[in-house]
């Protein structure tokens, strides 16, 4: 198709626009009845391209009922797009109705939408799931002509993406003629994304339309004045430079990597803000109303800068942003491009971005990322296979809508790319789980949620099951959070429950840009006052840090190992690397450099593995377990994005034996039994699958035992039915998700026979950042009990066993000797207060 039909051609011409090539390509695909994936950078008229075929069709053949469903990962985006579409439709006088449906849609409008749906419905994966679980779903979706998935790259490979993929398979069963349109940023794995979108799980059944971005973004590397920091990730040393850049631009987004960093950078900027520039902050823990206000102020051009986390990675196009500053390492090339693309949303002009590395390694990482962008490379994992927990939720959703036959549902599900490799056994076990829990002990026959009729179809057993399904719908499982409420005032946001458990009345912390003083805990809310004395702490949030991507890690290694590639590096970094070459050696591009050296009465082992913090934490646990068996008495370890550092009482010998693939065997099994990360994974899976009930934020617990502790279930299930479907799902997810076991396996295989061990007399230049890294994991036998024994003994020693009541109380056992030399000393309260919380607490079980 070369041109647009009327009235579209006239409407475009009146604005002096010509339709873009990809917009016409999508029209053509629609005409041929083909499914299509559009890869285009932001600002390319991508969304309009997705809708144009539907508008053209409806303009020519007006009709009632649902024609196109649009799914976006963000509610706000759906609402914004509805507004942007309504304008041209009204201007052209087209007989097309457009509405949104999200969690915020009022009940009366939802009811009306069921009776009388609009032509175009804009929604989210969760709301679509809910619509599909209604008995009237077949009537509602029967005439559907198109399914448009926006930001497909951000959905594929996530649990929300799994949920959406299953919903789309369902839609295909209800409306076999519906075309699929995927809209996505440019990605590293377009084939995988096509397969994800495809109705046959085959990439070739989806046409690919790709628009290369016009100009490459322009990067500046901003170093702090004075000394370049060795460690730290906050980038506070560069605050004056960041502020000057904000002053010089019209509108800036300052992207940071964590919420804690957002609070600190925001505070640092305001300390410098003599001109009182309107600078705001945006992160996922701020109260939703506050976030909306910041977004609105940004849209209206009332802000000069906003300090933001990933909460602004996606979202409404602001257009007027002319500068993006990334503080801290970018962690991934695709992520960097996504962020940079938030500035200057016009395809033909380059986006400008400033990279502000916080330490020396981050300088190398920034340079590596810049080179990757120049080379046109992207990173990111291909979408992983769909989760069984999400499938369980889907099975219940389908059953709530109408009785189904397992054979038919299985055939439907494996048409989704994410579930193409699902075995019939796993599918049947998931259905069994939904039916009666799927336990080896046939105890719950009377309590089944589904029952089978004589034709083998499964029916839902009553309204209660449907109610439960609706209550627990969704794949986002929140960490237990508490609202932060000002005394006599409103809610300012929320913090994780465990953080509150580390506070004492009078302690203060930085939140939402102000210092708050903790007063007391009310049911469901933390009561705080403004102000406070002493250095405030900063709440950190579990799992909020993105790990370094494998691709970028390889580029960092390649730069480090090859002095010819140091040209782009600033002088202090070059000097640092030269010194490393002199005192030890440079980490090889391929193998693995391990240094050992004595320091302060201990031995240190530093492995230059470059696999990201998560993988290093897991690897640290496994290697220290092995060291323990070999009698090296490991005392602790720390993982950064780049290296793993372990300290021990005795000199580590034969280090090759510590980094072999077989640590993924025995040590792995032991670790799985007690890993808090695995428990967290299980909790999420059990919640999504509907085994335990979702925490509803803000809802008061009416009794102390109302929510069932997932750790207890995990322990019992592991002992009595280790191959239960939810445990299988947990292990599968652990292999790639939180624990990055897959990355460790690849690393160990890659470096086999290529380990370089250097025994040094002292710490090497490259090892310094790791040794000053915060957030250490202590080993102490690797287990809670050794830690408890040590803590009990310390308290005993310090109090001379003094009791708070008069009479004698016999003591338990002889206190165990304290291991190691640098154990936590009993620090004074004031000192303790001034310390930031580092890292999530290990095992807060209950």
């Amino acid at each position: 198709m070369r041109t647009l039909p009327e009235p579209f051609a006239g409407w475009f011409a009146a604005r002096g626009w010509t339709p873009r090539r990809h917009q016409l390509a999508l029209l053509d695909a629609a005409k041929q009845g083909e499914h299509v994936l559009l890869l285009a950078p932001t600002g390319g008229g991508k969304t309009l391209a997705g809708f144009l075929p539907s508008l053209v069709d409806l303009a020519g053949n007006p009709r009632d009922g649902l024609h196109t469903i649009y799914i976006s990962p963000l509610k706000a985006l759906a609402v914004d797009i509805a507004r942007n579409l309504t304008a041209p439709v009204e201007e052209m006088g087209l007989p097309i109705t457009i509405e949104t449906r999200t969690g915020d849609t009022p009940v009366n409008r939802r009811a009306r939408q069921r009776e009388n749906p609009p032509n175009l419905l804009l929604t989210t994966p969760e709301s679509l799931t809910l619509l599909l679980s209604l008995p009237e779903a077949p009537a509602l979706f029967g005439g559907l002509a198109a399914i448009v998935v926006d930001e497909a790259h951000a959905l594929a490979g996530t649990k929300r993406g799994d949920q959406l993929a299953l919903c789309i398979s369902r839609l295909a069963a209800l409306a076999p003629g519906a075309r699929r349109v995927g809209l996505s940023a440019t990605v590293a794995h377009p084939e995988a994304l096509r397969a994800w979108l495809s109705p046959t799980a085959r990439a070739e059944d989806v046409r690919l339309v790709e628009t290369r971005g016009g100009a490459l973004p322009v990067f500046d590397l901003q170093l702090p004045e004075g000394r370049l920091p060795w460690g730290g990730h906050m980038g506070l040393a560069s605050a004056p430079e960041i502020y000057r850049r904000i002053e010089a631009a019209r509108v800036t987004i300052v992207f940071v990597n964590t919420r804690a960093q957002a609070e600190l950078i925001f505070a640092a900027l305001w300390r410098l803000n003599e001109a009182a520039l309107p600078i705001a902050m945006h992160h996922g823990s701020l109260e939703i109303g506050l976030r909306r206000k910041v977004e609105a102020a940004m849209a209206e051009g009332r802000l000069r800068a906003v300090v933001a986390t990933a909460s602004l990675d996606l979202g409404i196009d602001w257009g007027n942003v002319d500068q993006v500053i990334q503080v801290g390492a970018p962690k991934g090339v695709s992520r960097l491009l996504q962020r940079v693309g938030r500035a200057n949303h016009r395809m033909d002009e380059p986006s400008r971005a400033v990279l502000v590395p916080a330490n020396r390694f981050e300088v190398v990482e920034c340079v590596a990322a810049t080179e990757a962008v120049e080379a046109g490379d992207l990173d990111g994992e291909a979408p992983r296979p769909g989760g069984l927990d999400v499938l369980a939720q889907h099975v219940l959703a389908v059953a709530c809508s109408a009785p189904f036959h397992p054979d038919e549902l299985y055939a439907e599900v494996i048409h989704a790319g994410a579930y193409a490799t699902l075995t019939r056994r796993d599918f049947d076990d998931v259905v069994g789980f939904v039916e009666d829990g799927g336990y080896a002990l046939a105890a719950y026959d009377r309590f089944r949620r589904l029952f089978r009729d004589s034709e083998g179809r499964l029916h839902v057993r009553g309204k209660q099951v449907e109610r439960q399904f609706r209550m627990n719908l969704g794949t986002i499982v929140e960490t237990p959070m508490l609202k932060v409420r000002l005394r006599g005032g409103g809610v300012v946001g929320e913090v994780e429950e465990w953080f509150v458990s580390t506070l004492e009345p009078g302690d203060c912390f930085l939140f939402g840009g102000q210092v708050l003083r903790y007063e007391r805990l009310d049911p469901g809310a933390v009561i705080v006052g403004r102000g406070g004395e002493g250095e405030p702490r900063v709440p950190v949030y579990a799992g909020s840090r993105m790990p370094l991507t494998t691709y970028l890690a390889a580029r960092v290694r390649a730069i480090l190992s090859d002095p010819r590639r140091w040209r782009q590096l600033p002088e202090p970094v070059k000097e640092w690397l030269r010194l490393q070459r002199l005192k030890s050696e440079l980490p090889p591009g391929d193998g693995l450099l391990i240094e050992t050296f004595p320091r302060g009465g201990k031995w240190f082992l530093v492995a230059y593995t470059f696999e990201g913090k998560l993988a290093h934490q897991t690897l640290g646990m496994l290697v220290t377990k092995r060291m323990e068996k070999l009698g090296m008495a490991p005392l602790g370890y720390v993982g950064t994005d780049y290296v793993l550092a372990i300290w021990s009482a005795f000199e580590p010998a034969n280090v090759e034996a510590l980094f072999t693939e077989d640590i993924l065997g025995d040590e792995m099994e032991e670790w799985l039994a007690e890993s808090s990360m695995l428990r967290r994974t299980f909790r999420n899976i059990a919640t999504i699958a509907g085994l335990i009930e979702k925490n509803h934020p803000g809802q008061e617990k009416s009794g102390r035992q109302m929510t069932m502790n997932s750790d207890l279930i995990y322990d019992v299930l592991r002992r009595h039915q280790p191959d239960h479907i939810l445990l299988r799902a947990t292990r599968a997810e652990a292999a790639q998700g939180l624990t990055d076991v897959a990355r460790i396996a690849t690393l160990l295989a890659r470096v086999k026979g290529r380990i370089r061990h250097r025994v040094l007399e002292q710490v090497s230049p490259l090892a310094v950042p790791a040794l000053i890294e915060e957030g250490r994991e202590w080993v102490a036998g690797g287990a809670e009990d050794a830690l408890l024994a040590e803590a009990a003994a310390l308290v005993e020693e310090a109090t001379d066993g003094a009791e708070h009541f008069a009479e004698t109380l016999a003591e338990v056992t002889d206190p165990l000797p304290v291991r190691g030399t640098s154990v936590a000393r009993a620090r004074s309260r004031d000192k303790r207060r001034s310390r930031y919380i580092r890292g999530a607490p290990k095992m807060v079980t209950g």
Binding site: R446, T502, L521, L712, A789, E803, E807, V812, A840
Partner: protein, 239 residues
Amino acid sequence: MIAAPIHIAGERLMLDPAGVLHWPARRTLVVADLHLEKGSAFAARGQLLPPFDTRETLARFVPLLRRYGPRRVVFLGDSFHDDDGVARLQAQDRVALVQALEGAEVVWVAGNHDPSPPAGLPGVVVAELRDGPFTFRHVPTAGAMGEVAGHLHPKATAPTRAGGVTRACFVTDARRVLMPAFGAFTGGLDVGDMAIAGLFPRGSRAFLLGPERLYSFPLAARRTAARSVTYTQPTLTIG
């Protein structure tokens, strides 16, 4: 397994790291809050928790009966998660329980979850049991002397250098013992909660359960319900 002796009213009681209490002078074994058949109680309401909790709880409890060989076993209430729980017992579990209790005097103290006698199981049901200086009852009462009670499922978080470690625990002072919940599916209430802290106006000591031994920490007296545990000096750093 090393049990910890404590002395109340001149009597010696042994706190077992498994979460039971033994009174050697009377060869009495006390266990609280088994909440048997909690899994099936949830299942009856549509939440299909694993049905293995009773088996798991008994697998931990029966060896203790064998080891102590008590003359009397006191179940301190909430032995079943609900009054129908006993009827839902799997045959295999019922047999295991009855066999293990053989030869002992069995006292079921009524709990709020299980006020009625457990039909078909040996033993007597009482509201509370008095013996010597002690009163064994389910719900603790403020100001009581020589009381052994359950109901509150105490747990405590001990600060260690690798972060807080939370365990079920005994809480005790010179007057009373508050027992940890024994059941496989029993969660806990923090000892800082006023429901527990209020029972110990002059402070107390928590004994956290471990596989081999107990870990003892003093707990300061407290007046307001602010946060979890206030430990007496020295406060250990979490970090």
